[in-house]
Symmetry: C2
Subunit: 262 residues, 2 copies
């Protein structure tokens, strides 16, 4: 039997350090890029997003109807017992039918419910999707909706990891944050959570990941640091992080911290 090369990184909730949280964030970049590449296999498939196209979904688009029902099914088998997972349709969820797993609860109770999925949903469909798909309709509506949900869930998990970032940063220096939290000073908190050089590096890394993962791999090519035919435009992935993923993550962090002393 072949040896496994690397063990999956443990969830940071089991051992909360900034290093663990960063490793998880870096790993999640891969999942986001994979999901975008898989969505870009299909053209836009506009009927999936038109609530009037399939009247049987009661005013919802196929994408909404599918995501809501898929989340309900995943809730039934326990997905949202893990505090890392945040649903898009929390009102439609089934009660889990399985014995709860004992996930470590590391979030401050008043902060745990921070949820920016509405903003993620709107950003994904209105801004991102037209940038990663070509126009057209190939009829693969179910696969398209499933690929959209993979992207949304990967983005949501990444952005809500801001809760771990905020918790670990608060624990490391509670005195530094307390004054700004008590003053509800959002601007100062945002400044404390912003590291321009780190953000620049993340943007460059995700762009490179898009380049490496979305290339047409052949037996001949050796250098993966050149931009060849890409299934997803690397500069779009960089822009996704700059304009949406990192700002929304910081929104999560600020919202989390503002409730951290409640």
């Amino acid at each position: 039997m072949a040896e496994k090369k690397t063990a999956p990184s443990p969830s940071p909730s089991q051992d909360l350090t900034l290093g663990k949280v960063r490793d998880a964030l870096i790993r999640q970049e891969d999942s986001i890029v994979f999901a975008l590449i898989e969505r870009a296999k299909f053209p836009l498939n506009a009927p999936v997003y038109d609530p009037s196209f399939f009247p049987q979904f009661g005013g919802r688009s196929l994408a909404e109807a599918y995501a809501s029902e898929a989340e309900a099914l995943q809730a039934k088998v326990g997905r949202y017992q893990n505090p890392e997972e945040v649903p898009f349709f929390p009102d439609d969820l089934s009660v889990p039918s399985i014995i709860p797993y004992n996930f470590p609860q590391v979030f401050h109770p008043a902060s745990a419910s921070v949820n920016v999925n509405d903003a993620i949903w709107s950003m994904y469909f209105n801004e991102l999707l037209p940038l990663i798909t070509v126009k057209g309709d190939d009829g693969n509506y179910a696969s398209t909706a499933a690929a959209d949900l993979m992207c949304l869930q990967a983005l949501s998990r990444r952005i809500h990891y801001g809760k771990f970032v905020a918790e670990v940063k608060f624990r490391d220096a509670p005195q530094d944050y307390t004054k700004a939290i008590q003053a509800k000073d959002t601007d100062t908190l945002m400044k404390m959570l912003t590291f321009a050089t780190v953000e620049e590096m993340v943007k460059r890394r995700v762009k490179k990941k898009a380049m490496v993962f979305s290339r047409n791999v052949t037996l001949e090519d050796k250098n993966c640091d050149v931009e060849v035919e890409c299934k997803v435009d690397p500069s779009v992935v960089s822009r996704l992080y700059e304009q949406w993923v990192m700002p929304l993550t910081k929104d999560v962090e600020v919202q989390y911290l503002l409730r951290r002393l409640d």
Copy 2:
């Protein structure tokens, strides 16, 4: 707005040539490797596969219960209207609730129903899964079952593409195949469909894809032709193709051809 670099390849069913079918097969290698990497994020999570662990699923494992219900949901939004998609639980499917999309029907009617999903299911859980996961239980049962289904669907789509391969090869040289089909000469058909040098190249390419896509991409590294820490063992992916994907694809091709004159 950024330019899209490459348009998705049209489905071969819209323009059936061996070149188109091969392009689709090559693109699907990426999907399979991505899915395996995403599954390997989680440890084995054995309770997902134990029918006695969650008695509420009526004798099914969580993996079976999830896959069956997820397929039913996807069927409702039209997944199996596309002849490229083959369900694992055909008896549990919902009737599609959407207007049928007019997918081109290119398969010979008597051959269209070839389905080796039982063999794929058994290979995936009994052989492959222990090779790509580490032992352990992190409680992410729902995400694990969802990741398993992504792998299974990617493998099933790839293997059942053998129907396209068989149809296009038959159309290109009906006289060559007819005698063997009429004699039900499975051995001769298998020989006619086997190209050792092509298979060797495919094995090397999927190994390289596993190396490229499962590496920890950093801003520094440039050469992607060296095996560094991999999230999925490249030699396992090569073995997956050698031992299971390519033989099962040829089984599909032979079964398809055996009914091609009915």
